[in-house]
Amino acid sequence: MSRNARTVALLVAPAGALADALVLRLRADGFHVIAAGGAAGDESVAFDPRDETAWEALITAIAARHGRIDAVINAAGHSLVTPVADTSPAAFRRLWEANVETAVIGTKWAFRLMRDTGSAGSVINLASLAGVNPRADAAAWSAADAAVTHFSKIAAVEAGDLVPPCRVNSVNPGQVAPDQVAAAIAWLASPQSRFVTGTALVLAGESYAR
């Protein structure tokens, strides 16, 4: 197993403006970006983040090819703006699966990859402002992203027992431009934030204007 001289980031996100902004920023910061799930990176992998078999194959390949992982970004979730009275159990389960399960499973396999490669890595789970502040008409979304936010803190405690210790944080943006979300994630992925773990980085943007 050879160790890549460049820092390596794994981005799990569907194709879109946020994924594009993340790839651009992480590459500008010197990362070799492995994009899984739709975005185009230095390597691009077709990937279903809800599938543990796919996770195992992916981390095995990354360990063999790069021998290190510096950042894992779980950004596969989505929003749901529906009044409680109109929220169906099926819509809630889809949201829970996309937002919470992918963060939990993604963190689990990130830990295994960091453990197997002896990397002091940083896990960043993308949630939302709804996960820290109650938002009307978004009960299911708020609850799911609150779960991601709190899970990330619990995972941060466990990450301390890896050798070397690793970090876990959530990023919680409101209505904020993709490049700003990318900048926040890039900060948490970088060694400049090496003492920051178990936090929720809230990007309120203009959300407090009203």
């Binding site: 941060a156 405690v157 301390g160 003492f195 920051v196 773990t197 178990g198 407090y208």
Partner: protein, 244 residues
């Protein structure tokens, strides 16, 4: 190092040592012009008692005279005071409130006035150095922790007030955990405390922060990368509050 703070002007209080000194140095390294102030100033720094409103007017005037404007305030000057409440007295509580709460309040007010004079909507970044002692119960911080909690509230209230006023002045608080500085060495001791195996073993990251770690967060919050980050507090503690 990236020069993303070129053309910006920062005022850093408590700049003679510790987090203030490291923050001033890093902001300069990233291209900002910096006025460091301290009650016991180093050569080139400005003598400044942050509890005195007139001293704030003088410090801002000095900053504008030297560098032409003000974009970033790092309200960092502080003093430690640890002890059980039975041993505390009102003088010690008031001293903590004056340095931390009144210092941050007066500095923010003076900085906002200057930033608004430079144009509306005004832009700028105000960073208050608080502490995790303001978030979680830590032994013997009835005065220090109480004052630091007020700073966290001040950042949240002021940040929202700026947005509501239509200004792009961002106000954030940083909450460091164990950080080795001249101030905390005076309070807790030297290597015998910081390097003792059990001092930080319970923390997920099993270590304490160096002043530069906190300075990195200061620089991030002051930079264009953080224009969407406002009215929040930011913990940098290696996971201390998770296990407290």
């Amino acid at each position: 190092m990236k020069q993303d703070m070129a053309g910006k002007v920062a005022l850093v209080t408590g700049a003679a040592s510790g987090i203030g000194s490291a923050s001033a140095a890093l902001l300069m390294a990233r291209g900002a012009a910096v006025l460091g102030t301290d009650i016991r100033p180093q050569p080139g720094q400005f003598g400044h008692d942050v509890t005195d409103p007139a001293a704030w007017d003088a410090a801002i005037a000095e900053c504008v005279a030297r560098h032409g404007r003000l974009d970033i305030l790092v309200s960092n000057a502080g003093t430690a005071d640890f002890g059980t409440i039975i041993d505390m007295d009102m003088a010690r509580l008031r001293q903590q409130a004056r340095v931390h709460v009144e210092g941050a309040f007066l500095g923010s007010r003076a900085a906002i006035a200057q930033m608004r004079q430079q144009g509306r909507p005004a832009t700028g970044s105000i960073i208050l150095i608080a502490s995790i002692a303001g978030l979680k119960p830590i032994m013997q911080t009835t005065t220090y922790g109480t004052a630091k909690a007020a700073m966290i509230g001040l950042a949240a209230a002021l940040g929202r007030e700026m947005t509501a006023a239509g200004d792009a002045i961002r106000v954030n608080a940083i909450c460091p955990g164990g950080t080795r500085t001249a101030m905390t060495e005076e309070a807790f001791g030297g290597d015998e405390y910081w390097d003792r195996p059990d001092s930080f073993a319970k923390l997920p990251l099993k270590d304490y922060a160096r002043p530069d770690d906190v300075a990195q967060q200061v620089a991030f919050l002051a930079s264009p990368d953080a224009v969407a980050i406002n009215a929040a507090h930011h913990i940098i503690d290696g996971g201390w509050v998770l296990t407290a």
